[in-house]
């Protein structure tokens, strides 16, 4: 079964097309990146897939469930780590994780075990009692991803997970994301080319709401006759501009 299937998905605000007739599919266990410059439509696409925005037309199916008609079932299998850190600032690291386990309906003993596991997996244990607002940017992002994963989703949406982080924090987060590969289907939005190239199984290049190309980093380089992924990306998005 495909993890995600999009059929002619379109989003329009007033007369402005933000996502235009997007059709693609994502395999289970794949790390699929949506890459594009600002305003390409990456976040809008994620919002439609997670049920936060209704499509104007077309259809999106997640693990066999229509995201509009079967949103309750979809919510059982997805999790989102939004662009902002999306944590409760006055709650400790432990309490934030416990909150997310609680909203997914786990019992007290299950919550305790899952929070401990997640803190271990994300090296958060030393900060368990620390208020989350006092964490550094990198640790907040790490907590944000742990909060998304605690509900054991089959599909994880990471919206610009390393935005605004310094290079060391970004590399550390890449390591965390790499370790998740294969265990869960990941849809990653980014505008860092290096991030998309090093982490993704496949990359979708978006420009002004349209899919310009989809494939592995190597396939995109071959498609454009470029020697580097940066050149391939520029060639694809400039081609549209011309």
């Amino acid at each position: 079964m495909k993890a995600i299937e999009l059929h002619h998905l379109t989003k329009q605000y007033g007369g402005r097309l933000v996502i235009s007739d997007v059709s693609l599919s994502i395999e289970k266990g794949e790390l699929f990146s949506l890459l594009g410059v600002n305003g390409a439509g990456k976040s809008t696409l994620i919002k439609m897939l997670t049920g936060l925005l209704l499509p104007t037309s077309g259809k999106a199916v997640i693990l066999g469930h229509d995201v509009v008609k079967e949103s309750d079932q979809v919510k059982q299998v997805i999790a989102v780590s939004p662009q902002e850190t999306a944590i409760a600032p006055n709650l400790s690291v432990y309490e934030n994780l416990d909150l997310m386990a609680g909203v997914h309906g786990f019992s007290k003993s299950e919550r305790k075990r899952k929070v401990a596991d997640m803190m271990q997996a994300f090296s958060l244990s030393p900060y368990a009692k620390q208020r989350s607002k006092t964490l550094s940017g990198g640790w907040k992002r790490r907590l944000s991803i742990a909060m998304a994963l605690i509900g054991e989703p089959e599909i994880l949406f990471l919206d610009e997970p390393t935005l605004g982080l310094d290079i060391l924090a970004r590399r550390e987060l890449w390591r965390v994301i790499s370790e998740l590969k294969g265990k869960v289907t990941i849809i990653l939005t980014t505008h860092y080319l290096e991030e998309a190239e090093s982490l993704s199984d496949r990359i979708c290049i978006l420009k002004a709401g349209e899919v310009k190309a989809t494939g592995t980093a190597e396939e995109l380089k071959l498609l454009t006759g470029s020697t580097s992924f940066d050149d391939a990306f520029v060639a694809l998005v400039e081609e549209v501009a011309v």
Binding site: T50, G51, L52, L53, D72, K75, Q76, I78, A79, V80, S81, P82, Q83, E84, T85, A86, I87, A88, P89, N90, L91, E95, D98, L99, M100, G102, V103, H104, G105, R131, M147, A148, G151
Partner: protein, 239 residues
Amino acid sequence: MMFASRTTKEMIRDPLTLFFGLAFPIILLLLLTLINQNIPDAVFSITNLTPGIAVFGLSFMTLFSAQMIAKDRVSELLTRLFTTPMTAKDFITGYTLPLIPMAIMQTVICYGVSLLLGMELTWKIPIAIITILPVTVLFIGIGLLCGSLFNEKAVAAICGALLTNLTAWLSGTWFSLELVGGWFEKIAYVLPFVHSVEMGKAVMQGNNAGILPHLWWVLGYGIGITVLAIYVFSRRIKE
């Protein structure tokens, strides 16, 4: 109840919430009682003043409620939670229920301090505390509505400045509305704030017949605004 527990923790760990929610109304009560010692006026007598200060204190509950929702929207915590199995009911109860015990505690402290300042201990006090419940619903409902509609900056202006001033000026707490009269008094009596205070005053004066007319106003506004707030918030989730 996990989300309600989180709301409680967020509020009680915020020093500004504690100050404006609990300490500020008490400071006002002490200050006005001191003034009253020099200006003997029925408006500032402790029995008249306490129901007004109790209602004024509740206007901060609106601010806390609205700010928390607006902050959660900006930080995208709500975005995250909207993609979980949480329902509209879970969100609404999570944002509102924790404020009710806090509001009751605020009112109890307010009446407790008034007792220390010389108010007579009577059976009317627990009734006055019970009649504050519909007023609590009203103010929490306004908070839910404003938090769903406005951003954090607008919430601070609307709930922090405008609403607290409206509650102060149009409730008859600080001065007699009859003395001002005219359109000011008419507007005040169309809004729920003066009715909230008059209801408490009627209880404290033992004027049982005077409670109901004000209670209907407060209940009407409270239910109307809460229903509207739930509708707007639920629409936000679906959007």
